[in-house]
């Protein structure tokens, strides 16, 4: 379980997150929606400790992310994250991209790492691209590669940070299909997205962010179809128009 208690985060004087409470249960898919700059991506980066926080606490399976004595490198193995920019390692083939972290972080043998990587590439539909360098892959393929790379560490949670925002429209589907597949396998996921339709169909719950706070959180269909808050209603109207 991921527990977020009263988290505050600022970049200098710019307050990005102003007191967020949220719980993500095992097996759940939580979608974070809201305007750009509302703090949802930043929250994701805080959850796996890539960004420090100024106040509050985030616990992953009972381990406090920002505590001084927390081994972040170890904790991050539980938390896979995929970014908007695919960030594939350009000097490595698809297979090497996926095999790198299991080999150097988990210290499994080269052969095991390659087998593991091969399995995960097949899983996201890139079985035929093992020896291809990222520059030869489409955006959608690179993003699936990034997902396979995160999955190869066998995380308990997957965090997705606007993973389709940088993609050409015709490539969005293949990435969302991969997310749906992960959901069907029972993966716990936090998905920051601008795709309201996807959020409603795939999310169990949706949290709507506004100005660094959670304005509304609830069952996915309820937040989209029958929002309780006026702000949510206005946002949805703007986005779905």
């Amino acid at each position: 379980m991921i527990e977020i208690h009263n988290v505050h985060k600022a970049f200098g004087s710019l307050k990005v997150i102003r007191g967020v409470d949220l719980e993500i249960k095992k097996g759940e898919v939580l979608c974070l929606i809201g305007a750009s700059g509302s703090g949802k991506s930043t929250l994701l980066q805080c959850v796996n400790g890539l960004e420090p926080i100024q106040q509050g606490e985030i616990q992953v399976d009972g381990i406090s992310v920002h505590a001084k004595d927390t081994n972040l490198n170890k904790l991050r193995q539980k938390l896979g994250i995929v970014f908007q920019q695919y960030n594939a390692f350009p000097h490595l083939t698809a297979l090497e991209n996926v095999a790198l972290a299991p080999r150097v972080v988990k210290r499994i043998s080269k052969a095991e790492a390659r087998a593991l990587a091969s399995k995960h590439l097949k899983h996201v539909g890139l079985g035929d691209k093992e020896d291809v360098f990222p520059s030869r892959l489409s955006g959608g393929q690179q993003q699936r590669l990034a997902i396979a790379r995160a999955l190869a560490m066998e995380p308990s949670y997957m965090l997705f940070d606007e993973v389709t925002s940088a993609l050409d429209p015709e490539l969005v589907g293949e990435v969302l299909d991969t997310l749906r597949m992960l959901k069907s396998e029972g993966m716990t996921m936090v998905v920051v997205t601008h795709d309201i339709v996807f959020a409603r169909e795939t999310g169990d719950r949706i949290a709507f962010f506004k100005d660094g706070r959670i304005c509304e959180v609830g069952e996915a269909w309820q937040v989209v179809n029958a929002p309780r808050e006026e702000h949510t209603r206005q946002f949805l109207k703007r986005v779905l128009a």
Partner: protein, 228 residues
């Protein structure tokens, strides 16, 4: 060194203006060997030091700012003056190093400054998001450095570094100003004696080419192999 000096005296006094002889070959080869040794020693020491300094400058603001005067001075003052300064400095300190080592130290520092600039440029060329991606997979700073940043930085820095190495090979000739007889100085000695300037210089030029060309060739092949 002593042997060469005596050899030179003997040659100058006993055989003034005599033509080239086969017995001059060992003398030239010794000079060539010294040029190669200077290049290898200064090239590796300078590169090692340059990688460390480049990393320090890229990683810590204090080094970035603090080292600027040194870098500027070393890059701007002609090498030939630097040899003389370092040589005089050690005399002032009462030290007596072999000119070979004075040469190695001066050339290494020069090479280190050039290399550190290239290392810095290389590291800057790696998108920070890639390091972040590495960290998000549980990699430590050094794991990320070793497997992500360094291999990518090398690709950027390599062509410039090869250029610096080839320039260094030729710059070893300047060590002669502090009395060290390397290839070019040895050639001058023979020219003074034999008046065969064209032949000797062409031969020496060819020799420098023979040292440098394989380096360029190998670099070009390496670049192609590392291309992404």
């Amino acid at each position: 060194m002593a042997r060469l000096q005596t050899g030179l005296n003997v040659m100058q006094f006993v055989l003034p203006y005599s033509g080239l002889q086969w017995s001059d070959l060992p003398f030239m080869l010794e000079g060539a060997w010294r040029t190669i040794m200077l290049t290898i020693m200064a090239g590796s020491l300078g590169t090692l030091l340059g990688v460390i300094v480049g990393w320090l400058r890229e990683t810590f603001v204090s080094f970035r700012i603090g080292l600027i005067p040194f870098i500027d001075v070393i890059r701007s003052v002609p090498l030939i003056i630097q040899f003389i300064l370092v040589n005089s400095f050690q005399s002032i300190l009462g030290l007596q190093f072999d000119p070979f080592w004075i040469g190695v130290v001066t050339l290494s520092i020069y090479m280190a400054v050039l290399t550190s600039e290239l290392v810095r440029a290389g590291l800057q060329s790696v998108r920070p998001e890639l390091s972040r991606a590495g960290r998000s997979l549980g990699m430590s700073y050094w794991q990320g450095f070793l497997h992500i940043r360094a291999p990518l930085a090398i690709r950027t820095a390599l062509p410039g570094w090869i250029g610096a190495l080839i320039a260094l090979t030729k710059d070893t000739a300047l060590v002669s100003v502090i009395g060290y007889i390397e290839l070019l100085r040895a050639a001058q000695v023979l020219i003074n004696r034999s008046n065969e300037a064209l032949l000797i210089l062409a031969g020496v030029g060819l020799f420098y080419f023979v040292i440098c060309y394989p380096v360029s060739l190998y670099a070009r092949r390496l670049e192609r192999r590392l291309a992404i």
